[in-house]
């Protein structure tokens, strides 16, 4: 028996486990994603401020309008401890590049002591943002920036009735920034940790501000600002040297890994004829051997599966690789049987599908890892137009692709030279992307979950024609 190295359950792969289960897991994840209306990751789910918090405000000095977006100072201010402060109902979201909100000064009142900024949760609600520790505020009457003390720093212009003033957190640069009438007036290092509330204050009779948490367009071009910040980061990154033609090698090994042989041939041919010819840095040789293994068989089977010819694919598999095809209860065989069933449904051969299901799929009912996918497949029968149903994804090309990928990986696993089972599952490209994603999300979690994480989907959507 092969030695197992006792790693945890995720590392099943290293043990004598059915590799196909990995792909089965991918399918099941897809089921969940489809049902949950998959949106990329959890970033978008973070709550944002929507209105002012009327419960925790300096009651008595101010009146908040019924829309909870306007605040007015109604008393006569007497000292420094009767400021009308009000926070947003939620903390500024952190899992993004930038957070921003704006106020419009409706009326600068008697003294124009309006301010905008950020404060921590236990901020003293009778003081100007910036006067106390763990707060920061840009004040309208003097244009100064206050950071945790009663003395302000020279910062920007003053602002008054009719001005639109904004405050933002740039998580990438770890800076606060403020705007007046659509232009950045200044930035300052963000020395506060932990969650921060968008905060506004009014402090003289009749002062009134209206807050915009993004319900309406901002005076400031936030999109442009974000694009500029991303670009600044990108410029730094573009300066990093990489091995010449590394991309060519990675694309090539991707094509090899998945058995896209026709593409590979064209690619190789074209690489040779470019001026100057592209010399792909050859891997250590062994690696290449791992991936050229059974290339033509893998390509043929992928084509058959992509064309929906599951019976033929099954036949070839049994002929070429009996060792992986003989166990009819393996995840690979299960996925192929499901696919055959799906193809019958697609062709409208429902009776035949039922017969096939009874013969080949029924044995998987009641087995935890297989059950949900079997049920989804069988459920296709219930719809008049299955493609438009919640499980319509099963009829898409991507499902065929997963089945083809499963067969591909299983064939790779029969290669006696394959060093690690994991290499059957992940191409070089995938390993690099996993490392990139893991590095970015780990780094974010080590810096208090601030900033945006890496998402391949976002990178892919940049620069697309809308």
């Amino acid at each position: 028996m092969k030695e197992t190295n006792g790693k945890n359950s995720v590392e099943k792969l290293d043990q004598e486990q059915d590799l196909g289960l990995y792909f089965l897991e991918l399918c099941r994840r897809k089921v969940k994603e489809e049902l949950e209306d998959y949106g990329g990751d959890d970033d978008e789910k973070e709550e944002s401020p929507t209105e002012l918090n009327t419960l925790n405000s300096s009651g008595g000095f101010v009146v908040v309008a019924t829309d909870k977006l306007s605040v007015k100072y109604v008393s006569v201010n007497l000292h420094g401890h009767d400021v009308g402060v009000i926070q947003a109902n939620k903390v500024a979201p952190m899992k993004r590049l930038v957070y921003y909100f704006e106020i419009t000064v409706k009326d600068a009142g008697v003294k124009g002591q309006v301010s905008i900024g950020f404060t921590s949760e236990n901020f003293k609600m009778r003081r100007q943002p910036g006067w106390e520790a763990n707060s920061c505020g840009y004040h309208g009457d003097d244009g100064l920036l206050y950071r945790g003390q009663a003395k302000g720093e020279t910062f920007g212009p003053t602002y008054t009735t009719g001005d639109i003033v904004g405050a933002g957190i740039n998580y990438a640069a770890q800076e606060f920034f403020f705007t007046k009438n659509g232009r950045v007036v200044g930035t300052v290092y963000k020395d506060m940790k932990g969650p921060l509330f968008p905060t506004v204050a009014v402090h003289s009779q009749n002062e009134e501000v209206h807050v915009n948490f993004g319900q309406k367009p901002y005076a400031f071009d936030l999109k442009e600002f974000e694009a500029h910040e991303r670009m600044k980061q990108q410029v730094k990154i573009e300066d990093i040297p990489v091995v010449p033609n590394a991309s060519y090698g990675i694309v090539r090994s991707y094509l090899l890994h998945y058995g896209y042989e026709d593409t590979l041939d064209s690619f190789d041919l074209a690489s040779k004829s470019t001026v100057p010819p592209i010399n792909i840095v050859e891997d250590n040789g062994i690696d290449d051997q791992e991936t050229t293994y059974a290339l033509n068989h893998r390509k043929t089977l992928r084509q058959l599966i992509r064309n929906g010819e599951i019976d033929v694919a099954f036949g070839k598999l049994r002929e070429w690789y009996p060792q992986i095809a003989e166990d009819n209860t393996s995840a690979m065989c299960f996925l192929l049987h499901c696919q055959k069933f799906i193809e019958l449904v697609r062709a409208g051969a429902l009776e035949e599908a039922v017969k096939y299901g009874r013969k080949e799929l029924s044995r998987f009912f009641g087995l935890p890892v297989f059950e949900d996918l079997v049920q989804e497949c069988v459920a296709l029968l219930a719809y008049e137009r299955p493609l438009e149903s919640a499980i319509g994804y099963l009829l898409k090309d991507s499902q065929r692709e997963i089945v083809a990928d499963t067969v591909n990986a299983m064939i790779l696993s029969t290669n006696p030279n394959m060093k690690e089972a994991k290499n059957c599952l992940h191409s070089h490209l995938e390993r690099l992307l996993r490392q990139l994603t893991a590095c970015c999300s780990e780094r974010r979690s080590l810096s208090g979950n601030q900033g945006e994480t890496f998402q391949l989907q976002r990178v892919l959507s940049i620069g697309k024609r809308s």
Binding site: I237, E238, V275, V281, S441
Partner: protein
Amino acid sequence: MSLFWVVVRQLAEIEAMAASKKVIPREEWERKLNNVKIRKEDMNKLVMNFLVTEGFVEAAEKFRKESGTEPDIDLATITDRMAVKKAVQSGNVEDAIEKVNDLNPEILDTNPQLFFHLQQQRLIELIRNGKVEEALEFAQEELAPRGEENQGFLEELERTVALLAFEDISNCPVGELLDISQRLKTASEVNAAILTSQSHEKDPKLPSLLKMLIWAQNQLGEKASYPRINDITTAALEDSA
């Protein structure tokens, strides 16, 4: 225990504290890697984007068939773009200019620098082929007026004309203009301009992602020690963390 060893131990502790980096053991890191979700469709798109942007039109066509991935640009336009690129690479600049104008006359109209570089390349090719008179005429008629408009162009023009002053070009200080790399530079400039005119990014995404990986590994490296990928061509995780 001797005082020496006590001190050594204390020093070691201080060192560990100073580093105070989070240590992520390989097993934990691999678990994190396994939890990352990368969609096959997205990798396919990334590969397609590379093939298309780099101009591998046949490979892109095959890849569409083999993987079902739709290219983010009309494949026919790649053929035209590559024809222009090839024309510059092989020194047929006139032909290239004509082809660009067939594709979209606005490309050169709105891009005086590119147009100048193409004309400059044409001059270089004339000089390379020993057509001295024709070269001089071309420089005077086509390039000099542009040099008057723009100081940068004028300097470039002077540098190029200097090629004529040397009989033995292999020993000439501006000889690099005759190098193949100059053609490639001009070719890639045209290539980028055509892509931009097609609202497509001028560079493929994959090389940037590789750079980003190195950057991200360094950034995380400041806060934690964890298994890295040191050689992106093998994508292997380093052994010791």
